[in-house]
């Protein structure tokens, strides 16, 4: 392919998604049912394009594109290294599957008049996230953070119920505080270096970092708080359970598996490219992140354990999983970083699968509480099968994706001379088991005891799931993806390895 065209592609993905998102409300005035297929087809095309980009990036090409031709110190630069390219594929791929799923589930869960606007928010969110992972300019990053944040709130608020509106307001206020902190941090960086481009900041910081020790600390702490709120690092996670559990299932899947993670990627980029590992090790931010992530892994699981509603339980489980990713970053070793980033990918598959299963169960039976799942394995064998696969992966059983990243984290903590952390990882995995296995056990091994069916001779018979095909297919693909990642993690690991070796 022509290199010039290739270099424009990532930029066109973001701009195209933005354009299509603004066509949605117009289209919805005319034909409401066309919105979902059009959005799905478009995101499918974007997914194809990102795979092409990924192919070329694996050949060793690093895409650097100057938006509207202005060279870096002044203009906005787009950089697609292996990690960004992997994240673009992940974002558009998972969004593609969720959009297929959303065709029927959104009809079921949302009022008909908001359909067009829902897809506007969805595509805006996707465009914001893709822009966030490819930009190399911190102020541009801030703008994309806000685009993602506001459209994510809209995805929660779309349901329009009392709980959803309340959760959306809470999310909006706390997310704005978070982005305020990030913007302040960007202000500090600009004050020290006079640059907004990450590469130039890195060059400048290497020269002047000894003159401003306290200012660097301040800037880094502002970033930790800001991105901590946005990515729901444990004591700052208060908005997450409400927002993720009261949103429609398609939104919960996007929010929990992708939106929370892209902020971590952005944080990682600022941390590694601009500040560099040296400053990260010298200031005590690394220890802070380690302590917070250990607390998150344990406390998130404890909180999840006491929840009765399935989606709330999944939301608290996200808090724990974010802890894993931050643990990988905090370790600061090659294996730790690799496993942390791998966990972003694996968790995106697992949590999307779990939330989509929860939505499918709600679609067919209207049940939300975990104690109502008796006999569900026979009523919805495909959905519960996928749920079981994702839960096994969550716990970290070998042959499933979650095992690889947890194993990597364990190796990373050995590399960082902190072997005690392995106990924490294992303990958190066991805690995961305590709140996922009862659901699975109930679904397969317990009888539904309703007054009409005293003799349950016809209960234990497999029936086909009563949900549309467009909801089954994404769930099955995600479950297969988890198994694939567990057995052949090589391709994904290679993408991550290249970035990590580039940055460390």
């Amino acid at each position: 392919m022509d290199m010039d065209t290739l270099f424009r592609l990532p930029f066109l993905c973001v701009i195209g998604t933005l354009l299509v998102s603004f066509c949605m409300p117009v289209l919805a005035r005319w034909k409401k049912d066309f919105c979902a297929p059009l959005a799905t087809i478009f995101v499918g095309i974007v997914f194809g394009v990102t795979i092409i980009i990924g192919y070329y990036v694996m050949q060793g090409v690093i895409i650097r594109y100057y938006v509207s031709g202005w060279a870096p110190p002044w203009g906005i630069e787009i950089v697609v290294e292996p990690l960004s390219s992997l994240m673009m594929m992940l974002l558009s791929g998972i969004c593609f599957l969720i959009l297929i799923y959303s065709y029927h589930s959104i009809k079921h869960e949302l009022e008909r008049k908001v359909t067009g606007w829902y897809y506007t928010a969805f595509l805006l969110c996707l465009a914001g996230m893709m822009g966030l992972v490819i930009t190399n300019d911190i102020f541009n990053m801030y703008v994309f953070i806000e685009v993602t944040g506001i459209s994510a709130v809209a995805l929660v608020a779309a349901k329009g119920t009392r709980d959803a509106t309340e959760a959306a307001l809470k999310y909006l206020l706390l997310a704005t505080i978070g982005s305020g902190f990030i913007l302040f941090g960007i202000g500090f960086i600009y004050m020290i270096t006079g640059n907004l481009n990450l590469t130039f900041i890195a060059q400048e910081l290497a020269l002047v970092k000894d003159s401003y020790p306290f200012l660097l600390w301040t800037a880094l702490s502002f970033f930790v708080v800001g991105f901590g709120v946005k990515a729901a690092l444990f004591p700052l996670h208060l908005w997450l359970p409400d927002a993720h559990s009261s949103a429609p299932s398609a939104s919960s899947a996007v929010l929990s598996s992708l939106v929370v993670k892209v902020y971590i990627i952005a944080f990682l980029k600022i941390l590694l490219i601009a500040f560099g590992l040296e400053i990260f090790h010298e200031t005590f931010i690394r220890h802070l992140i380690l302590v917070l992530s250990v607390i998150a892994m344990l406390a998130g699981s404890f909180f999840a354990f006491v929840q009765i509603e399935l989606k709330r339980r999944l939301a608290y489980s996200t808090v724990a999983q974010v802890g894993y990713v931050f643990l990988g970053i905090g370790l600061g070793t090659v294996w730790g970083m690799t496993a942390g980033i791998l966990h972003i990918v694996v968790h995106a598959f697992m949590k999307t699968c779990l939330f989509l299963c929860a939505g499918a169960i709600y679609y067919q039976t209207g049940r939300k509480q975990v104690n109502q799942f008796a006999g569900m394995g026979y009523k919805m064998p495909i959905t519960m099968g996928a749920f079981t696969v994702a839960s096994f992966s969550m716990v970290g059983i070998p042959l499933f994706g979650g095992f690889i990243s947890k194993y990597g984290l364990a190796l990373g903590s050995l590399q960082a001379d902190l072997p005690l952390l392995i106990i924490v990882i294992i303990l958190s995995g066991l805690l995961n088991a305590t709140y996922y296995f009862p659901i699975i056990g109930q679904a397969y091994f317990s009888q539904e005891t309703t007054p009409e069916h005293d003799n349950h001779h016809d209960e234990k018979k497999f029936q086909k799931d009563q949900i549309p095909l467009s909801m089954i297919v994404p769930i099955v693909i995600l479950a297969l993806g988890i198994i694939y990642l567990g057995i052949f993690p090589g391709t994904v690991l290679e993408f991550i390895d290249r970035t990590v070796s580039l940055l460390l």
């Binding site: 102020f139 309340e166 809470k170 704005t176 505080i177 305020g180 208060l238």
Partner: protein, 119 residues
Amino acid sequence: MDLELLIINFPYFVSIILFSMGTLIVLTQPNLVKKVIGINIMESAIFLFFIIVGNIHGGVPPIFDPQFPDALYINPLPSCLMLTGIVVSFSVTAFALALIVKLYIYYGTISSPNFMRMK
């Protein structure tokens, strides 16, 4: 302590104090409209901070004047960046107020401490 340095740099202190005030208001006030006002105070503090960063003591506005070709110009970039910041702050405020109107329809009040309780 060099008092003169502190006095010259007093806008930084104003910015930090405003930022802390705004954050405190968002987190502690039960009234939802006051929370939105807190957000606005906080963001204004950041805008102020950026504008001070761009300011150079004794600089002139960055408009080229042929009579003084080597005049000391202030840095206009942070002020321009803050235009984007103002747009973001405006949209967040509008969105938050819309949500508050909806909550008012549900609850009949905008000052309930129950909204932000932990579940």
